[in-house]
């Protein structure tokens, strides 16, 4: 597997470590990490800024009719005029998204663990999961509204359904990715299966889980909004539908913008959590950063 490159790399490190005294291995401070984050992510921000300028340029030069594409100014005005309106609906969608995401994680992780424990269960559940994944959510969302009413229920359910699949798949992969020799070693230590799970299998699966969570985070936002499209009196999906009906493109654009930001924000939070909880993984992934210290 990775052992070859890894040990070669480690060899270089060792020398660097001996020279500087490995004691200060505690990792970069918060300031440094923030600097590192900016350094790594200025490119997407630059691209974002460029797109923004393009948007502004297109509307300022009146290349398209304002009722088709509103200018950035108009869009922000739409928010500024009714900040509490947007705040309220953003909050509703955020609530649905986060709740759906959290439920999806809980159910997904438990399902994955159960499936890895029992292959019968895995064979039984997999087709069902796949079915739940491939069925278009927009098509079954109306049914949820019929069942659960206009409240938060159907939105959260759609969010859960959308976010659930990547969580299960990544967790199952993670739990199965453990080096079999590690498990053999564990059995020579007389470990109980619970010990092996908590000390070896579960931590080893976390990097996989987190890559699934990143996908799931963005899916949860989509799920909540899809749920709102089908029937709601609150939330960003509702705002967009209403604005669409009134041909109020500035509000529509404002809704889209906030919705995207919500997805990005959730993604960034998951990524940040990953760095916080799995520093060993992050430092291995972007090594080089530590050799130059």
């Amino acid at each position: 597997m990775v052992t070859h490159t890894q040990s070669a790399r480690a060899g270089q490190r060792e020398r660097a470590g001996e020279a500087s005294g490995v004691a200060e291995r505690s990792g970069p401070g918060l300031g440094q990490r923030l600097g590192g984050f900016l350094e790594r992510s200025w490119r997407p921000f630059a691209l974002l800024a460029a797109l923004f300028v393009a948007w502004w340029g297109v509307t300022a030069a009146e290349l398209v009719e304002p009722y088709l594409v509103p200018s950035p100014g108009n869009t922000f005005d739409a928010i500024a005029v009714r900040p509490e309106y947007f705040w309220e609906h953003t909050w509703t969608t955020t609530y649905e998204t986060v709740l759906g995401f959290v439920i999806a994680i809980a159910v997904g992780v438990i399902a994955a663990v159960a499936m890895v424990q029992s292959s019968t269960l895995e064979k039984t559940l997999y087709p069902l999961l796949l079915f739940a994944q491939v069925i278009p959510k927009i098509a079954i969302a109306p049914l949820f509204v019929v069942w659960l009413g206009f409240g938060l229920g159907p939105k959260i359910l759609v969010a859960v359904l959308m976010a659930f699949f990547p969580v299960v798949i990544s967790m199952v992969t993670g739990l199965k990715s453990v080096d079999p020799e590690m498990l053999q070693l564990s059995s020579t230590m007389g470990a109980k299966s619970g010990q092996t799970f908590w000390k070896i299998r579960f931590p080893a699966s976390l990097p996989h889980l987190f890559s699934g969570l990143k996908v799931a985070a963005t899916m949860a936002v989509t799920g909540a909004v899809v749920g709102e499209f089908v029937g709601a009196d609150a939330g960003l999906g509702f705002v967009i539908l209403q604005a669409n009906g009134n041909l109020d493109t500035p509000v529509l654009f404002a809704g889209l913008l906030i919705m995207s930001l919500l997805g990005v924000l959730l993604f960034v939070i998951v990524e940040w959590l990953e760095q916080l909880l799995l520093p060993w993984h992050a430092s291995r992934r972007d090594e080089g950063a530590s050799t130059t210290l």
Partner: protein, 258 residues
């Protein structure tokens, strides 16, 4: 009855998969006295790792009996220490915590385990790297961590699968000297798989030669070197040269005959 530490009687191991059947070991018989240091040499793929997994109960025998201290082995045994071909460390644990995994799994008293870990860390020259994560250690250091982990609970039998395969020649010699010393200090029975004939002869009381496909015992060489073995002088001993030549000829003949 409990005369031998490791007893392998007329054992055959067959791997059966959809694509093919492989007989990894055929009619292997091998006895190891308590406190003895035995090395196993042989060409790649001849079943050396299989032999160690068999002794520890990680693999069942298709035929024959395996006993540890007179007790039949069926299922993984915990009265052993195992060093795998790869270091097999947990990436998220520091060197010290990887060593202490052994203690946690066995629920050893924390204080005693910590003291023993410190002792082993010093013995293997890992001092100063206790808090380093595996990816921050060189291959040799990772292997030393694995060795410490295998020794933490003072196992009566230590099984080592090419533990020094990834090391440079000089470090390897140092590790050999250390291992010899650790063995003398602890009185552990050691089964060592290695590709280095010199390593096998320097370290062992006995070298078992395995021939390839199917793996059978091609011969056993008793090493008549003194117990105290300084590295340089030992290498220069006529007995050392005799033993290595014997093994080389034997293995060469076994491979040539194939």
């Amino acid at each position: 009855m409990a005369g031998y530490a490791v007893e392998i009687d007329d054992v055959t191991v067959r791997f059966r998969s959809k694509k093919r059947d492989v007989t990894a070991l055929a009619d292997v018989t091998m006895h190891v006295e308590p406190g003895e240091f035995v090395s196993i040499v042989g060409p790649s793929g001849c079943g050396k790792s299989t032999l160690l997994k068999l002794s520890s109960g990680l693999l069942p025998a298709s035929k024959g009996d395996v006993r540890l201290f007179g007790e039949p082995v069926n299922g993984p045994r915990k009265d052993i220490g195992y060093v795998f071909q790869k270091a097999a460390l947990l990436e998220w644990r520091s060197a010290r915590k990887n060593i202490l995994l052994q203690a946690e799994m066995r629920k050893m008293p924390a204080k005693e385990a910590a003291a023993r870990a410190d002792e082993l860390i010093e013995m293997t020259g890992l001092t100063g790297f206790e808090d380093a994560l595996p990816h921050e250690l060189s291959g040799g250091m990772q292997q030393r961590v694995a060795l410490c982990r295998a020794l933490l609970h003072r196992p009566p039998v230590l099984l080592m699968d090419e533990p020094f395969g990834a090391l440079d020649a000089l470090t390897r010699e140092q590790m050999n000297v250390e291992l010899r010393r650790i063995w003398q200090e602890t009185g552990t029975t050691v089964l060592l798989v290695t590709h280095s004939i010199a390593e096998a002869v320097y370290l062992s009381d006995q070298v078992v030669m395995i021939s390839a496909r199917p793996g059978t015992v091609a011969g056993v060489v008793d090493v008549n070197l003194p117990v105290e073995r300084d590295y340089g002088p030992t290498m220069a001993e006529p007995e050392f040269a005799k033993a290595t030549r014997h093994i080389r000829d034997h293995l060469g003949a076994a491979t040539a005959a194939e």
